[in-house]
Symmetry: C2
Subunit: 231 residues, 2 copies
């Protein structure tokens, strides 16, 4: 493994451990020692990447707005729905995403770092504005207002369904879109949208397979290079 | 002031101070000393009512599910909307309500005390079930699911609009209902629902005036009693 690649992986291990600790303890009660214990790496390795708990929290928040799995669709409004469905699938599985939400709802952390909500809202607003231009959503819908409300609604459905433990987030978010979309989307487009519970997993698998294929090609090239005799 | 009434007011002062401190610092970082400082009352008076920070938090949560201002309406679904609109008006103005939400989203506090979300959901479910029986909402709507999603959506819109400081909660919640109701409510009823921003304030003023009138009568009776000569 190349030096730089190893550094990237080590940094990621620290971020994920920090994320898990932020989720379990909250930002205030999280300690560097607890984070370090989970990684089985040295304090020196940690300080090479992050000099403080604040740095770790900023690192977590930097990774939070992600469109992995999002691919171009016939309807822009489908892409907007996909953002929310993909996140519903990924958040319970990826500590970095869960921790970003935890830091956003924690008043102490929010005062220090702000939230990524404005970025999520801007992502949604852009997609809805394009959808509106194409006539996919009703003309009376204000993309900024709808994007903001849905970021809020998504966040709260996550919090409440997380507290009522037996609920699956993908199912709840799918129900939420079922309630919201008929007021946003014109009927002809609405009938052709996919808001099913299985969509996100399918999109993500496709994206990861496509990326895996690319990674394998790169790996092969690297291997070839290594085999070149030094003359 | 009668002894008991004074005790009720003192208890309330402690609860409201605790609520403000929970909102500002979060549950973990909140201290009994900080709470006490804000009341200008003695530690003895506090311990007469509450023996711990846990007790104060439980006291705050006990007050959280409130239907003040809610009055019978021609449509049950209007009463359901009124619950959300009244809370949107009151929460930013009443620390006990804001603190209850803050305790619910705080992982440490939630682990200790749970949340009041199940009670809000049950309140909504009951109203929606009646609305459904009366044919006010669509037959395919499941009252439990809709009540749960709207408690979630309401909570998240509060959190996000609170973080984007310039936003008024009543306006945002009114927009949220504008997006949700056309999918829930049958057209004939929908056209007669009031989701305006001014509704909550008006309902609450009417309820408080009605209560004020009753309180005055009681005050008068108490006064009369006092004026009775001891013979």
């Amino acid at each position: 493994m190349a030096m730089q690649e190893r550094a990237v992986r080590t940094r990621r291990i620290f971020l994920e451990a920090a994320a898990q600790v932020f989720i379990e303890y909250g930002y205030e009660a999280a300690s560097i020692s607890t984070i370090l214990e989970r990684t089985k790496l040295t304090r020196g390795a940690l300080y090479f990447h992050f000099t403080s708990k604040e740095g770790l929290a900023r690192g977590v928040l930097d990774e939070a707005v992600t469109t992995e799995g999002l691919t171009p669709q016939a309807f822009k409004v489908q892409e907007w729905v996909d953002v929310g469905m993909l996140l519903a699938y990924r958040l319970p599985r990826e500590p970095l995403l869960g921790a970003s939400l935890a830091l956003s709802v924690d008043p102490a952390a929010r005062a220090l770092f702000g939230t990524r909500w404005p970025d999520w809202i801007e992502l949604g607003r852009g997609l809805l504005a394009e959808a509106k231009e194409r006539g996919e959503i009703h003309q009376h819908i204000e993309p900024m207002v709808a994007a903001r409300l849905v970021v809020g609604a998504w966040t709260g459905v996550r919090l409440v369904s997380g507290a009522l433990e037996e609920l699956d987030l993908v199912g709840e978010i799918s129900e939420l879109y079922g309630l919201l979309l008929p007021n946003l989307v014109v009927p002809g487009v609405l009938a052709r949208l996919d808001t099913s519970m299985y969509r996100a997993e399918r999109l993500l698998r496709a994206a990861r397979e496509a990326r895996g294929a690319r990674d394998d090609e790169e790996e092969f090239l690297v291997g070839d290079d290594r085999r070149m005799p030094v003359r």
